[in-house]
Structure formats: structure tokens, C-alpha cells
């Protein structure tokens, strides 16, 4: 599991871990907690292009539907098949095994720091 304090965040409650030109993206524990038990995850296919701010996937719980917003412009390298097969990983390990997509990007937009995100969700 990555160190949460070194991750970057979006106001849509996603976390982004940057390694070179690849971003790994998931939803935060706060978002997973708000959704409740996740029972279905729909992710974009590897090779597809995504545009920052656009809805590229869905995370459904028994109670509601959360949207996955692309945090960057780029190309999907990998969608996490383990999460598709076992959606509960989003709840049990949102920052680790519950990651959702890996994206190759050209430029990184300005994202929130851990402190900024913590302030946003009031924690």
C-alpha cells in the first residue's frame, strides 16, 4: 500500500500515484466509505484514450452509483481485473489492491496534496 501522504488527490475523491509518466488511480477510503459495500466496478479497456474530467467508469454499491472521473488526459495501460472480479477490494484496500486504472499521461494537471485533500473532507 502506498504512503497516503505522498499521493495526490482530486476533488472527486480519487487518489493518483505518479511513477514517471504513469499514473495509478483509485478512489479514497473516504469515497469507499461513503459508497458502502462496492458490488460492481466498470472500468475502461486497456488502450482506450481518456480525457481529464470525463466519466470513464462506474463504481456501484448496494446503495448507490459512483462515477470514476479521469484525473488526467492519457491512455489506459491497465484496468485492475482483480477489482472487476472482486469489487469488495475497493472497500477493504482502497489505496492498495483496490486500485482501478493505470494511465500513461503526457502532462499532469494540478492535483491536491494529502493535506489539501484531508482539509477538503474535513479529516
Amino acid at each position: 500500500m502506498p504512503d497516503k501522504t505522498t499521493l495526490q488527490y482530486t476533488p472527486e475523491h480519487e487518489w493518483v500515484q505518479v511513477d514517471g509518466d504513469v499514473a495509478t488511480v483509485g478512489i479514497t477510503a473516504y469515497a469507499a466509505e461513503k459508497l458502502g459495500d462496492v458490488v460492481f466496478v466498470d472500468l475502461p479497456a486497456a488502450g482506450s484514450s481518456i480525457a481529464s474530467g470525463k466519466v470513464v467508469g462506474e463504481i456501484e454499491s448496494t446503495k448507490s452509483v459512483g462515477e470514476l472521473f479521469a484525473p488526467v488526459d492519457g491512455e489506459i495501460l491497465e484496468a485492475n481485473q482483480a477489482v472487476v472480479d472482486s469489487p469488495e477490494l475497493v472497500n477493504s484496500d482502497p489505496f492498495g489492491e483496490g486500485w482501478l486504472i493505470k494511465v500513461r499521461f503526457a502532462a499532469l494537471p494540478e492535483l491536491l496534496s494529502f493535506d489539501e485533500y484531508s482539509a477538503l473532507v474535513g479529516e
Partner: protein, 368 residues
């Protein structure tokens, strides 16, 4: 905006780490840890629910029976002391003001339990409708807490809780209630619920409720009892095909549309509010409530449209991926022509058409 209201068990929920949701102005637990785990616990062992937000209205007096026969859709004079009955408060137009459980707790005493969101409306209507009769209507909601213990192990747990005394618990039939005690506090014990499982609902003094809540959890822990929030309550009642006011039921819904024609007693003597409208029958083209079952994991949810071929024929009122059955289920109002069992329809799930079949309700029925 009115002030947020808190259950007498609020501190217990905070201590248990519950997440909360606003329900009809009340801060109530939506889940404690996992709504799926809470759901499964109720189906396989037992769950404990705080329902203190619900409305409890007493109707008392020599003509209480006659008053309720006039005020409600059912024949409440026909139920015995200790019996409970599901009923409806209808508008003059035959629409549903609320769905209720009515307990006869004495010759001249009834307890009417209303949805939290409709408590004021029900109390006002009952006062108005009962005024020609020799009886009193008292809204006791603020002075009654409600704890439900639901699931196949509910009985064994309740019998073992220190301080709970109910003489006839072993003989208490389904939809029956009895007077009991928790410590020095009087308690009404009812074998009723809203989960599709066997279980009990316990009405008592809010001051005694926290101690009973803790005692139930402590006693039941070994049997698998867990506190359960409103999220699991919703999926449990959906699987059991039970309507929820504001979803399946409304002022614009007449009982027969919702499959509740049997709840309206047209054979009872005398007038009752809504009778003329019900006898006139529903409007032509009125949609009817059906169950829909689909495959896969993507569930139709409230307000999603339903199609028969290319024609939009209805709308979902409640839907979820059924935790017990493992496939999506929904209740929906659809055109009569599309309501036959086995009809193949489509749910528009955010732009994707998902095939769904009309099935009979309930989706889930416990083994006897």
C-alpha cells in the same frame, strides 16, 4: 430547515462507529461497518435495528374500533387483542397517505405505527377522522423507542436477554404482540418486522432503550447478532417484496396498483375514507407494481425507465443487486400490458439497456 433529530440510541451508534444518513429529518445509522455483512447476518443469524424514528400513535376509547374502521382501509374492529394488522391510511381520492402496522393492545386500545416521514400527516388525519367518535388520538412518538431484532436466531437471543420478561414469548404467533417488561419498564413485544425474516419489534421507554440495546448485542454476539443500519434494511425489505413509502407508495398510488388490494376491506360495514374512490376503480391505464429480475451485476435503480421493446412502459421505484440472490432485482410500475409474469422488458441503466424479466413478488421468501 427543521432541526436534525437524534434517536435515544444515538450515542450507542456513535460508539459503534456507525455512518449516518438523514432519514425524514432524523440522523439514523445507515451502516455500522458493511451493509452486505449486516444484510447476510439478518438472513442467517440476526440483526439489531434502531427504528426509534418511526411514529407511534395511540387510538384509545370506547369507539376506537369504529373510529379506525372509518379512518383506515382495513377492518380493525375484527382483530383480536394481541393481534397486529398491516393497513393503509387512504386519502378521499383513494391514494395512500401512509402504510401502517396497527396493533390491538386492548379492548379499547390500538397502537398505530407510521413511517417517520408521515408521522405528522398520520396523526393529523387520525385526529380529524376519529373526532366524531368517542376516542382519543395521542401521538406518543417522542416517548416510545423502537428496537427490532430480526433473523432466524432472534427468538433464542430475545429469550436470553437478562431483564427481558415476556410471559408468552414462546407462544407468540406471527403478527401478534404481547405486553412484557424490560427491567421495570413496560415493553410491547411484537412479532413483526420489515426484513422478510422472523423477528421481534420492541416498543419501550426511550430512557430504557440504550440498556436494552446493549444487552441485546451482548447476549446475541455469540449467536451472530450484529447492529444493522438502514442500508441493509432497504435491501432486506426489497428482497422480501415489501413496499417503501415514497418509493412504491404515494398519494398518487391506489392500493390495487401496488398489489395491496387485499388490504382494503370493501366488505366492511359503513363508510371509510377512500371507499368511494376505491369502489370506482383505478384510472384506465394505471400502471401496476411488478418485480423485475435481471442477470449480471448492474442494477436498475429508482427512477430508471423501463422499456418493452422500443416503448417506455414504466419506471423503477426500488432496485439493487440482491445480496441474497446475487443478481439485480427491482420493483417497478409498468403498463398493465407489460406486467404479465415472464414478460421480457429492458431497464435503461444510464444509457445501457439491460434485459429484465417480470417475476412474482417477493423475490425472497424465508423457509418456513
Amino acid at each position: 430547515m427543521t432541526e436534525e433529530r437524534f434517536s435515544p440510541l444515538h450515542q450507542a451508534h456513535l460508539d459503534a462507529g456507525a455512518s449516518f444518513t438523514d432519514f425524514a429529518g432524523w440522523m439514523m445509522p445507515v451502516r455500522y461497518s458493511s451493509d452486505l455483512a449486516e444484510h447476510h447476518a439478518v438472513r442467517t443469524a440476526a440483526g439489531l435495528f434502531d427504528l426509534s424514528h418511526m411514529g407511534e400513535i395511540l387510538v384509545l376509547g370506547p369507539e376506537a374500533s369504529d373510529a379506525l374502521d372509518y379512518a383506515l382501509a382495513g377492518k380493525l374492529s375484527a382483530i383480536e387483542i394481541g393481534q397486529a394488522k398491516y393497513s393503509l391510511l387512504l386519502s378521499r381520492e383513494g391514494g395512500i397517505v401512509d402504510d401502517l402496522v396497527v396493533y390491538r393492545t386492548g379492548e379499547d386500545r390500538y397502537l398505530v405505527v407510521a413511517n417517520a416521514s408521515n408521522r405528522e400527516a398520520v396523526a393529523a388525519e387520525l385526529r380529524d377522522r376519529c373526532s366524531p367518535f368517542d376516542c382519543e388520538v395521542q401521538d406518543e412518538s417522542d416517548d416510545i423507542a423502537l428496537i427490532a431484532v430480526q433473523g432466524p436466531r432472534a427468538f433464542e437471543i430475545l429469550t436470553e436477554v437478562p431483564g427481558v420478561r415476556v410471559d408468552v414469548l414462546g407462544e407468540l404467533g406471527y403478527y401478534r404482540s404481547a405486553h412484557g417488561h424490560y427491567g421495570d419498564h413496560a415493553m410491547l413485544v411484537a412479532r413483526t418486522g420489515y426484513t422478510g425474516e422472523d423477528g421481534y419489534e420492541l416498543y419501550l421507554d426511550p430512557e430504557a432503550a440504550p440498556a436494552l440495546w446493549d444487552a441485546l448485542l451482548e447476549t446475541g454476539a455469540g449467536a451472530g447478532l450484529v447492529p444493522a443500519g438502514l442500508a441493509s434494511r432497504d435491501t432486506l425489505r426489497l428482497e422480501a417484496g415489501m413496499p417503501l413509502y415514497g418509493h412504491e407508495l404515494s398519494l398518487d398510488t391506489v392500493p390495487s396498483q401496488a398489489g395491496l388490494g387485499r388490504v382494503v376491506n370493501l366488505k366492511k360495514e359503513g363508510d371509510f375514507v377512500g371507499r368511494a374512490a376505491i369502489e370506482a376503480g383505478p384510472d384506465d391505464g394505471a400502471r401496476v407494481l411488478v418485480g423485475l429480475a435481471a442477470e449480471g451485476k448492474r442494477a436498475g435503480r429508482a427512477d430508471y425507465p423501463v422499456f418493452d421493446g422500443e416503448n417506455e412502459v414504466g419506471i423503477i421505484t426500488s432496485g439493487a443487486l440482491s445480496p441474497t440472490l446475487g443478481h439485480p432485482i427491482a420493483m417497478a410500475y409498468v403498463a398493465l400490458e407489460s406486467a404479465d409474469l415472464g414478460t421480457e422488458l429492458f431497464i435503461d441503466v444510464r444509457g445501457t439497456r439491460i434485459p429484465a424479466t417480470v417475476v412474482s413478488l417477493p423475490f425472497y421468501k424465508r423457509k418456513a
